[in-house]
Amino acid sequence: MADHAIVAEGLLKRYGDKKALNGFDLAVRTGTVHGVLGPNGAGKTTAVRALCTLLRFDAGRAEICGIDVAGQPARVRERIGLTGQYAAVDEQLSGRQNLVMFGRLLKLRPAAAKRRADELLAQFGLTEAAGRNAGQYSGGMRRRLDLAASMVIVPQVLFLDEPTTGLDPRSRNQVWDAVRSLVAEGTTVLLTTQYLEEADQLAGRISVVDTGRVVAEGTADELKAKIGGDRVEVVVRHADELAAVADIVGRVCHSVPQTDRDVRRVGTQVADRVAALTGVVRALHEAGIAVEDIGTRRPTLDEAFLQLTGHRANEEATA
């Protein structure tokens, strides 16, 4: 088996003047979950569609399980599953009919297709709704059915394009659990998301995408480290103490701290968090200022994203 289940090199996709993919690179190790993180319009969906053989790209090279996507799409399709943002099921058929149909299309015999459909319905808590038209399902149920449809035959590579966008927390957890159980069976997963939390929860490595290319890649911790180290933060009791505290923090940490008046907080990046924290505590004690809270924390992925792309994850990318 190939070392990397998904490889993309310099993918380019033009729509008129706009480059939806502009030198998109990706390498996902077999058996891992890889997150693709980026705002709307960053090119996440275009990349997934290109890798899934749904979209012809203009330049570059892509391989799934060592098979050339452009050259042998039919062989790639035998190995992949796709669950998109929009539930890709037949809304005029029942949940069970959908799964049986997909099983038949995957060359399962009729009895095997029915058995597999019933297993999946049970696994996704859809047994009771099995006979109802998928069009009458709630958003969460439809998404679960959609995910089940991608798992009729356990795929070697599963593409999840924003699988939990618009889902309530309970449905989202069900989707996450299903993904984890697939990974346990050895499936490689490519997950696109706008939610930093989701990438943090599920993915081993993360590619941050902006304007059609990967702007940063690494584990969640590496990405957080990339934007500088930890932060020391102090919350004061009275807003009029903010200036004095900012002065102390700045002096101890040799930096220009940020002050957030609304939450009465002073914070700054530091190189050595333990030394900085003890220094600030001692200096505050000497100045006789009693504070509400003090501590260190790692930056969130959201802050990492802001630093890497210049805008927040939930903002539209400026085209």
Partner: protein, 265 residues
């Protein structure tokens, strides 16, 4: 050979999928049959008394072949809508990301629509027999006539598929089909004889693909209305009833297939 067999199997699964839609939405089926039956009743009984059949004969005998062909034409709406619904949702993406023959979706659509048309024809024939229409020249010619009607439906299916893929919005397809289909039925020999229309309109009506099929099947069924003006189009209706569906399919099937392939852009 193996590839062909697999493609046929995939096409058949898609055909069954489309037929299941029909079974699961019986209300749509009822509405669908209501229109042609209404045309039979309204034109046959309400307007029929004021209509004259060229060369004489019963108006309902004249009308039924027209309603057969017209029902096929209005099937374009059902085809186009179903294709637009598919293309507008993610389900086609799933099919296309699976190891499924690329032809399956379109093969399934056209096969299912043909089966559906055969069902409609059965209902209409029964309806026709009830209002006094019948075939007079033997079951062989009658079946040949039905085959000509279904050939027209095949051509119309491909136009509908093309329309659905281009428009990709079910509601829009619905609003496009009526203004497209209505003049085609009005300026034809479905309800009245072209020789009763002003000259240029009559010529247009005679060359209408719908008219060719209707004239041909009137002859095969032995139904009235074939006095004709002696023009080339009416004299060669049988030829045109075969040529039109062939030409329309030859034009629209490749267009539809190309639009389908363009989904990968």
């Amino acid at each position: 050979m193996r590839r062909l067999r697999l493609a046929a199997a995939d096409g058949w699964i898609m055909t069954r999928r489309n037929m299941s839609h029909l079974v699961r939405t019986p209300e749509e089926m009822v509405l669908y049959f209501a229109l042609p039956i209404m045309f039979v009743l309204v034109f046959g009984y309400v307007f029929g008394s004021g209509m004259s059949v060229p060369g004489g004969g019963d108006y309902r005998e004249f009308l039924l072949p027209g309603v057969f062909a017209m029902t096929m034409l209005y099937g374009m709406g059902a085809t186009g809508t179903a294709v637009a619904v598919d293309a507008g949702r993610g389900v086609v993406d799933r099919f296309r990301s699976m190891p499924v023959a690329r032809s399956a979706l379109l093969v399934g659509r056209s096969t299912a629509d043909l089966m559906r048309a055969a069902l409609e024809m059965s209902v209409l024939v029964v309806c026709g027999l009830l209002v006094g229409w019948e075939w007079h020249r033997g079951i062989g010619r009658a079946l040949l006539a039905v085959a000509l009607v279904l050939a027209l439906r095949v051509a119309i299916t491909w136009i509908g598929i093309y329309l659905g893929l281009v428009v990709r919005n079910a509601d829009t397809v619905g609003t496009i089909v009526f203004p497209l289909a209505f003049p085609l039925t009005a300026v034809s020999n479905v309800f009245t004889a072209p020789e009763l229309m002003p000259g240029w309109l009559g010529t247009l009506a005679e060359w209408n693909p719908l008219s060719a099929t209707v004239a041909a099947i009137r002859e095969l069924f032995g139904n009235p209305g074939l006095a004709g003006t002696g023009s080339w189009a009416t004299e060669n209706a049988m030829l045109l009833a075969i040529a039109w569906p062939v030409v329309l399919t030859a034009v629209f099937a490749p267009l539809a297939i190309r639009s389908y392939q363009r989904l990968s852009r």
